[in-house]
């Protein structure tokens, strides 16, 4: 051990207040350069702060869009308000935790595995719970999804306890510095993968046969069925895809933040906000909605109050529904 040794601080007595008895260890020498952080030109700092906020928002927006697209796909095609969406998000994160921290699988192998698990869980939920509710009204399926959500969340809590878990990431600890702003490699990775997944989803919907069948079902289920589209398999595929996207968002963000059983609740609500913002059933709407929400949250937290960060989205929903009930980018008139 180098340096000064321990310092004792004791016997601080003031009035009737209690005395202080214990020893206190401290390191007296400051790390070099820290004192040099002298106050400098304010405008420069403000601009830097704004830039940093914008960068944070951009990175966050990618995962928000991912969450929103999954939900809007399921709603648009199946007319199901998916309350398990947040659970798939946290399931993705726990799957990541399980692979990386418990089984010791490589991070980059674990990620696709976690997404795959999300896809499988989604398919299972659709097959076991929703298939027999075909044609039931929207409220009935909603109740079933709420039941599934509660059960899943508490199974998670049982399996992993309520204590938050953290996942090691293989990225360098020092961030990528871009002039005055910086971003961690992990978040950058999250952003890039999110964009890639969004692009892949677009391609799947617009370029493949499955996507064509999905679009046909979205337009008109009866006609699509008449034209030979297997509605059941389209539904399973849609729910699995939407779930996979939610799980991907969870698996990506799990290592950035921490993983805990109720992490999906707020994610679910935010996904609702994004979907309403973009119009129920609209994929471009959800993509743009995700970024709008991220910017509103980040700038609101930075310049209004950090406490109302999460309120932004919901205020937005209420305003949008009052002004333009179909959302910003609705393709079809609202259903309900």
């Amino acid at each position: 051990m180098r340096g000064e040794g321990s310092t004792e601080v004791g016997g601080l007595r003031r009035g009737a207040q209690p005395a202080y008895a214990g020893p206190i260890f401290t390191h007296l020498r400051c790390a070099g350069g820290r004192e040099n952080a002298a106050p400098s030109f304010d405008l420069k700092r403000s601009v830097e702060q704004l830039l940093q906020h914008c960068l944070n928002a951009l990175i966050l927006g990618g995962t928000y869009a991912l969450l929103g697209i999954g939900l809007t796909l399921i709603f648009g095609i199946m007319r199901v308000v998916n309350f398990t969406h947040g659970e798939l998000y946290s399931f993705g994160a726990y799957a990541m935790y399980m692979w990386v921290m418990v089984s010791g699988v490589n991070f980059f192998v674990a990620l696709p595995l976690a997404i795959l698990l999300g896809v499988l869980l989604g398919a299972a939920i659709e097959f076991l719970l929703l298939r027999r509710l075909r044609g039931a009204d929207i409220d009935t399926t909603m109740l079933v999804m709420i039941g599934a959500w509660i059960a899943l969340q508490n199974i998670e809590q049982l399996s992993w306890s309520g204590v938050a878990k953290s996942i090691d990431s293989p990225f360098p600890a020092s961030p990528l510095v871009l002039g005055p702003v910086s971003v961690s490699w992990n978040r950058l990775f999250v952003f890039v993968v999110a964009l890639a997944l969004i692009a892949a989803t677009y391609a799947l919907i617009n370029r493949t046969k499955l996507g064509k069948a999905m679009r046909a079902t979205f337009q008109d289920r009866e006609t699509a069925a008449l034209m030979g589209v297997q509605i059941n398999s389209i539904y399973t595929a849609t729910f699995a895809l939407g779930s996979g996207l939610a799980a991907a968002a969870g698996a990506l963000l799990g290592p950035v933040f921490v993983v805990y059983p109720t992490m999906g609740d707020l994610a679910s609500l935010k996904a609702f906000a994004i979907v309403i913002l973009g119009g129920l059933g609209s994929i471009p709407g959800a993509t743009i909605g995700g970024f709008i929400l991220a910017f509103m949250e980040e700038l609101g937290a930075g310049y209004v109050s950090s406490g109302y960060r999460d309120a932004m989205g919901f205020l937005l929903i209420i305003i949008i529904l009052l002004v333009k009930p179909t959302g910003l980018f609705a393709q079809k008139e609202r259903i309900g």
Binding site: I146, N154, I276
Partner: protein
């Protein structure tokens, strides 16, 4: 039938006389509060057919308004605009709670009159979430996550003459019981009248309802308002009973609990929320006594909810009614099937 009801009421009123276990009374009081909230939700969910998933907002608003009125507060409405209020008597706080919750219901009813189905659900969920975040962050007014503590218990009368203090459990039990019975009567009057028929008409067939002159918006707003005021009353009683309120009172899970109670008991029936409320109010204690972890208990809730939707889509009360009709009146065997799910 009337005799059975009276016997039940007499039984409920007698409980504190012979039940010495205070914990049982505590459980009954909490169950009663939730039953009032569930009954109020049933008016919206069961009779007008609108799935409101932000119902806990009204409950929480009632709790906060009544607590703040009785504790007094000093807060900035806007920067520079200071609002101050001296502590008021609890009964006045409770009245404020009912009124303000009702007003919030009116606003929400007006706002969401043009949205139905999924949109209505999301508007109500968002509303509750915004209110929760305000309660969490407006620390000056609500104490945020530090909770409003030391909320006074209800007192009626004056210390000089005659004072009724609701500090002890039996008194609170009677308070809850009386308010619950009152709420039940109000809801029964409402649904068995022109207004209630208009709400049912909105639920069953909105275009047809409007074609015979029912102003659905008006009755949806009325239902939301009455329902919100009632939930506010439940919240106020809750606040002065547990004597602490924190922003988690707005959590979605409480709305879900109410929904489970209503759906399981039978939405759109008078007795449904009472039966559902009794089951889901007492079940946690039974499960706890059986040493079942709370997580398992919630898993059971979730699974039960799914099973109820599948196998008792109308809930317990209509199912029992149908069963009794089939077994006791074979003459009218042509009774309608239990489920009238329109095949779509």
């Amino acid at each position: 039938m009337r005799l059975v009801t009276l016997a039940w009421l007499a039984f409920l009123f007698s409980i504190p006389l012979w039940m010495s276990d205070l914990y049982v009374l505590h459980v009954l009081i909490m169950t009663g509060i939730f039953i009032i909230a569930a009954m109020s939700l049933n008016l919206l969910l069961g009779y007008t057919g609108q799935l409101s998933l932000g119902h806990v907002a009204f409950f929480g608003i009632g709790a906060y308004v009544s607590s703040l009125a009785s504790l007094g507060f000093e807060a900035h409405l806007l920067p520079g605009v200071l609002v101050k209020m001296e502590p008021k008597p609890v009964w006045l706080g409770m009245l404020c709670a009912v009124t303000i919750a009702g007003l919030c219901g009116w606003v929400i009813g007006r706002i969401s009159f043009k949205v139905r189905g999924a949109y209505f659900v999301i508007v109500t969920v968002s509303f509750a979430e915004v209110i929760r975040l305000v309660a969490l962050n407006w620390v000056e007014l609500t104490q945020g996550p530090m909770a409003l503590n030391n909320i006074p218990a209800l007192r009626l009368g004056t210390p000089e003459l005659f004072e009724l203090s609701f500090l002890r459990k039996p008194a609170n039990y009677y308070l809850v019981l009386v308010v619950a019975v009152l709420s039940y009567i109000l809801i029964r009057r409402l649904v068995q009248s022109r207004a209630g028929r208009a709400m049912i008409a909105l639920r069953e067939n909105e275009p047809l309802a409007t074609s015979v002159g029912v102003d659905v918006t008006k009755y949806l707003v009325l239902a939301t308002m009455v329902s919100a005021a009632m939930a506010g009353a439940a919240g106020a009683i809750y606040a002065h009973y547990v004597r602490i309120v924190d922003p988690d009172v707005f959590l979605f899970i409480y709305t879900v609990t109410m929904v489970i109670m209503v759906v399981t008991g039978g939405k759109g029936t008078l007795a449904g929320p009472v039966v559902g409320g009794l089951i889901f109010g007492l079940l946690p204690e039974i499960l706890r006594a059986a040493e079942i972890k709370p997580e398992v208990q919630w898993v059971i809730y979730g699974v039960l909810m799914v099973l109820v939707v599948y196998f008792l889509p109308e809930g317990i009360v209509p199912a029992v009614r149908n069963w009794r009709r089939r077994h006791h009146e074979p003459a009218t065997a042509a009774a309608p099937p239990a489920s009238i799910e329109p095949a779509r």
